[in-house]
């Protein structure tokens, strides 16, 4: 720094700034060299769209505006939105939008949404819980009764069999069919000669 800064009236033109001072490459380089560390943790925060809109419309009070400026200074993503939105606003462009875009956007609204909006949400359902509780109790009691009946029937069936046939042979025999039918094929299987040596009534 060579001496104190010059007062504005000493600058070259009516704007109060020389060509060097007006967005000069040197100033820009100076800022860019240091600004990387100027941002705080807010830098990564997502922009508050409502605050940006309020800022653009000039609806913030003095202190609110100062706070918004501090937030913007520390949040480059918000400044990016702010500047782009400002430029879009000032351009005043209102293009004729292709009908296809309008139709597609209109189709986005779900016709079922009004019903969905009036249908009770989880909060309403929770609020209804006291009213629904007796019904739930009756339903649970009926389910328990049915379960008990089924279990009793099943248990009774098993215990009845066990009393008639403690060894369980009856059940096995019933599942295998009559014993005499099982003997016939076995005779053939255990006859390596294909005939019964005792069939002719020979005796040793």
């Amino acid at each position: 720094m060579n001496g104190p800064p010059r007062p504005y009236h000493e600058y070259g033109d009516e704007s109060g700034m020389t060509g060097q001072d007006r967005n000069s490459a040197g100033d820009k380089a100076l800022w860019r060299r240091y600004r990387g560390r100027a941002y705080g943790p807010e830098a990564a925060a997502s922009p508050d769209l409502e605050l940006i809109a309020a800022f653009l419309d000039g609806r913030l009070t003095g202190p609110e505006r100062a706070a918004a400026e501090a937030w913007l200074a520390a949040t480059p993503a918000a400044v990016e939105v702010l500047v782009a939105a400002q430029r879009a606003r000032l351009s005043g462009e209102r293009p004729i939008v292709p009908r296809e875009i309008i139709a597609r956007a209109q189709a986005l609204a779900d016709p079922a949404a009004p019903q969905a909006a009036t249908a009770p949400g989880w909060r309403e359902r929770l609020a209804d819980l006291p009213r629904l509780l007796p019904m739930a109790q009756w339903a649970a009691a009926a389910a328990l009764l049915a379960l008990a009946c089924y279990a009793g029937f099943d248990l009774g069936l098993e215990s009845g069999l066990a009393l008639d046939d403690p060894a369980g042979d009856l059940e096995i025999a019933a599942s295998e069919g009559p014993a005499f039918e099982a003997e016939a094929p076995l005779d053939g299987l255990f006859d390596p000669y294909g005939s019964d040596p005792f069939a002719n009534g020979e005796t040793s």
Binding site: Y34, G36, E50
Partner: protein
Amino acid sequence: MRGCTAALSRITGEASGADIGDTLALESFAASAARDENGRWPPINGAEVVARLVRGDKEAWDAFVERFSPVIYAAVSRTLRGRPQGEAEIRDLTQDVFLRLCKDDYRLLSRYEPKRSTLVTWLTVVATSTTLDALRRKRGQTVALDDMPEEAAAVDPVLPAPRLRIPKGLLSPRQALVLQLVFERDMDVAEVATLLAVNPQTVRSTQHKALVKLRKYFGEEG
């Protein structure tokens, strides 16, 4: 996704679920989707519009889209200006903005605060933010080395200079904001003055004082 349907190509024509008491007001809002003989939109109550939309009123949504699609379309195309994106990108992003507005039972739309801004400004901000998000996502996508131009893939032989830290409190928030707007967003003094709602001379003065402080602190030549 409630509030919006994912079937983008389907065009529905069902009547709204509004009750009889709403009919007149609803008709007047639907009629507001038409410009007058001078090509101007009739004034509307933003809070009333949003209240109807949040209730899931299909007719109100159709009127809303009809009326505000030029605002959103203009904001998207203005934000994309100077970038290689084409008409298809503008169309898709306009659709994305509407989708963002109505999804999850119009969650974003219900955040609109009529006391803080006009609906047009708020929608412009939402459209701009959506577009910038999309650009950021696109920049984040990796590009195959073979598809990249040679100069883009070249390694910069000049190592970046180490950055020094601007001490907290050296610049006032407004000074930091002005330098950011001028040097990073390439705004001229008049634009910054309009944005900050101050006199252009105040912007010049703020910028100058900030630069003097920086030069003095870092021992740079003035």
